[in-house]
Every structure is written in structure tokens, then in C-alpha cells.
């Protein structure tokens, strides 16, 4: 397989896309938001159980490509028990990693498991797939009612 493809479809990515973690509506969820990518028809709903400023539980449901599903799955795993501010900061770093690549300021190694998404920057058409769950998360955190869109 070509090396960029291997960078994009790392084993962990394939694993998370096939067996997404937290693929559910958490009990007691009190926030949710829908995200769509009109170009490919992907749809995702992110659910939060927010207690004050802390994400006590997080889950997602929907249909999408391997990249968006893996990104959503890894996102939910990374954000449990994190604060709103921590979630926002992590989104910024993930966005920099997948859209700017090595020229950006973010060292993927510092992002833990999310580093497996670092191959996305070589596929500009797929950046939106990776960020859709995060945009949806932000809408859920902000309590925005209307579905967010990548467009």
C-alpha cells in the first residue's frame, strides 16, 4: 500500500471505524447536536452529559466514512471527564494537526491516540471528514439547536 494511504488508514483508524467506541446515546445526556457533511451525506449526532463545565459522559451516533467515524470515536474516548475549555483546546490542536500537518504548531505525539489522525492532512478533501465530529461537539457544548454543516 502507498505510504500516504497507510498514514491515513492506520490500523487504529480502521479499528475505530469498524468498532466505534461510545457509539450510543449516554444515559442522562442533556446536550446534543447534529452535524452533516452535505457533500457526502454524512450525518452524526453527538450527545453530552454535561455537569457544570465537565463532560461526564459523551457518545455519538450516525453514519459516515471511516475517517469521520474514527475521529468521532477517538474524540469521545479523549473527552470523558474533560472540561469545556479543555475540549475546545483539544479541538484546536486536532484541527491544526489535520489541516496544517507538519508545518503546523502541533506535535501529534502530544495528542495521544488522536495522533493516528495525523495522516489526514495529506488528503485535503478528507479534512472535513475528520473535523465534522468536533464541529458537532462544539455545537453541542454551545447548545446550538440547528444542525451544523461542514459547508
Amino acid at each position: 500500500m502507498k505510504s500516504e494511504l497507510r498514514d491515513l488508514y492506520q490500523e487504529v483508524v480502521i479499528d475505530h471505524s469498524k468498532k466505534p467506541r461510545n457509539f450510543r446515546k449516554p444515559e442522562g445526556a442533556n446536550r446534543s447536536a447534529e452535524g452533516v457533511n452535505p457533500l457526502c451525506g454524512d450525518e452524526i449526532t453527538v450527545y453530552l452529559k454535561l455537569s457544570g463545565d465537565v463532560i461526564e459522559d459523551i457518545g455519538f451516533q450516525g453514519a459516515g466514512c471511516a475517517i469521520s467515524k474514527a475521529s468521532a470515536s477517538l474524540m469521545t474516548a479523549a473527552l470523558k471527564d474533560k472540561t469545556k475549555a479543555e475540549a475546545e483546546a483539544l479541538f484546536e490542536r486536532v484541527r491544526s494537526m489535520v489541516s496544517e500537518g507538519p508545518s503546523g504548531k502541533v506535535d501529534p505525539e502530544a495528542l495521544g491516540k488522536l495522533a493516528v489522525l495525523s495522516g489526514v492532512w495529506e488528503f485535503p478533501a478528507r479534512v472535513k471528514c475528520a473535523t465534522l465530529p468536533w464541529h458537532t461537539l462544539r455545537a453541542a457544548l454551545e447548545g446550538i439547536g440547528a444542525p451544523v454543516s461542514t459547508e
Binding site: 500500500m1 502507498k2 500516504e4 494511504l5 491515513l8 488508514y9 480502521i14 469498524k18 457533500l39 457526502c40 451525506g41 454524512d42 450525518e43 453514519a63 459516515g64 466514512c65 471511516a66 475517517i67 488528503f123 478533501a125 478528507r126 471528514c129
Partner: protein, 414 residues
Amino acid sequence: MRALREVPGRLDVERVRKDFPILQQEVHGKPLVYLDSAATSQKPRSVLDEVARYYEEDNSNVHRGVHQLSERATQAYEGAREKVRRFVNAAHAHEIVFVRGTTEAINLVSQTHGRTRVRSGDEIVVTVMEHHSNIVPWQMLCEEKGAVLRVAPMDDEGTLLLEELERLIGPRTKLVALGHVSNALGSIHPVRRIIEMAHRRNVPVLLDGAQAVPHLAVDVQSLGCDFYAFSGHKLFGPTGIGVLYGRSELLEEMPPWQGGGDMISSVTFEKTTYNKLPYKFEAGTPDIAGAIGLGAAIDYVTALGLPAIGAHEHDLLSYATEALPKVPGLRLVGTAKDKASVLSFLLGEVHPHDIGTILDREGIAIRTGHHCAQPLMRRLGVAATARASLAFYNRREDVDALVAGLHKVREVFA
């Protein structure tokens, strides 16, 4: 010897490919395999040269100047109109209106013919297989007028249910608007029968021919359709140019759409008299170079011959229809008996977007997504499909490359 000449020419695909400069390249280090002609087709050298020649030698505005260049530009532009007329066998050149593309053609009909004819409670019939461009303009009209959009269903193979369609055409139906060939599934609809059904009830029919003209010989008089719309860029011509054919009587009674230069006979602040057909619908400086390029594309297609093109594509379609399902987990979506060379498919649980990315790295260009036909995707119960669409410049090797690429996709997701 005479009999020999009457045998329809076989298409020499290797020679044809030499006419398409863009096909002679590598993508990601692999020879380009272009399987996205239903999105837009590639352009032969003769079209590119003709557009350049026009700008280098004749460029000036049409229908205005007394000077030599304007006369030449006007002749070339009107010459292109005549080529289009012959290509679809319209009765008159003034029934050919140049527009930006199929979308604009349909909007023109909706905003003029539709707006003057459709009243509250009236109905417009479309099919579940329409492209968004043959849904949304009618929805906008229905919204404005309080009219109702009725949708003809299909079976699971992608064949229209004609009896159901016929039942939808009632006393309140003001128009039947449907694609000639489905862009997402390739189904060729029995439009002649549908037109007969509608005309028995005095209902006019608009055909969206965007996906038909690159593959089938179209004769608007023999079909009897009232409007026929298509795009130049899917017919091996430039982007930005398209055609609306309309029967004279209908075009005559339609009000103008956009106001401006060229669409008028005389203007005073008290009253403006509109120009005759087709100029009534061509406000402003048109896409002159685009029209001339489209004329060159029609020359090219006509020289190859639609029968030869059809035979070649039919062979490719049969070959691909047999080869693709041999890839484990692959399911063809859209298996109507009468089909153009469009192959929509799903591959196990792999999302079409991922298929598209992996194939791209193999130099293979396909379309993935909802193909601007979200209601159809909903009917099929899928969010998206992968679609390979073939043109006469494709060959069996391209299908083989696609099959090999799909095996790579399976490896990645093994």
C-alpha cells in the same frame, strides 16, 4: 463493396484517446483512469482548439457590430445553434436557447412557463430518480404558487413504475418533468411512452437530457417532448454552456426570463418590446466561445457516430456489469434492463468516500456521495454510493483497473 461501407463504424478507442490530451497523464504516479464522465466529460483537442481559435481570430460581441469580427462571431455563434438543432433534430433553430447548463434551462422553464401556468392546487409530476436540479426549481415554484409536487416511484432495480406514474397524471397536472437517463443509476426511462401518457391528458413534458445526449441519439420531434434540456460540459464541450429546446408555440407564449441587452427589439422608458425567439431568452452577452465549443463537440460526436459510441459503451457496460460483482462484497445499485454506462455500487461496509480516496491514489477517478439525488438515496436506503461512469474514450482496461483498485480497498479494510 457498398455493403461494407454501410456497416456502422467500429470505434477505435486507442485512436479516440489520442484526441483527449487530459487522458495522457499520470495521477499519483499511475496512468489516469477517468471514470467520472457523468459528472463532467473530458474535451477533445478539436473543442479546445476551436475555443482558442475563436478567441484568437474572431472574438467580438454578437448581433451588434457592423464590423467584420462581429459578423464572424455572430456567424459562428448562430452556426453552433444550427449544429445543436440538427443534433437533436429540432424543427427550427429558434427553438434552441443557449443557457448556462441544464440547471439554468430547467429554472428558465420553471420561472416562465411554470409561473404563468401553475396555480394553487395544481400539480407537477417528477420521479424519485431526479437530480436535485429537476426537483428544487419545481419545489420553489410549488412553494410560491401553493402547488403540489407529485413523485413517481421506481422498483428496487431502478426501473420507473409506469402505471404508478400514469396514475399521478391527473386533471390538476400542469407538467411532467423527468430525466431521460438517471445520473445516479443509469436507468434509461421509456420517455416516448411517458410523453404519450402525458399528452393524452394534454400535459406538457420536460426532459432533463443531461445524461442522455452523451450516449443516445435524441430526436425531440420524434419523441414529441415539449422541452429538452442538456449541458455542454457533459457532451464533451466546455462548461458554462447548455441548451434549452422548447417547442415554438410554448416558447412564444412564455414571458421573458431575464431582462437586458439582446432580448429586446426596442426600449423606451414607457414600453419595451421583446425580441423574437430565441433572443427573448438570451439577455446579455452570451457564452459565445462556449456555444462555439459546444458546436465543435457536436461535430466530434457526430463524426464518431452515436451508433458506434453506443455499441462501444454497451460492450463496456456489459463487461463491467459482469466484472464488478465478482469483487467480494460488491453490490451494484441500479440494475434496470435499459441502462446507460453508469455503475453505482456499494462495497461491503466500506463507505464510498473511503473507496474514492483509495481509488484516487491508484489514479482512478470516480464519484462518491449522493450524486445530487438525495431523495433517491433515501429511497434506496443508503447515504451514498460509489459511481463509475463510462464514456466512449474508456476501454476494458479501465474496468480492469477499477476492479484491481477495489481489491486494494478490500485489503485496506480487511
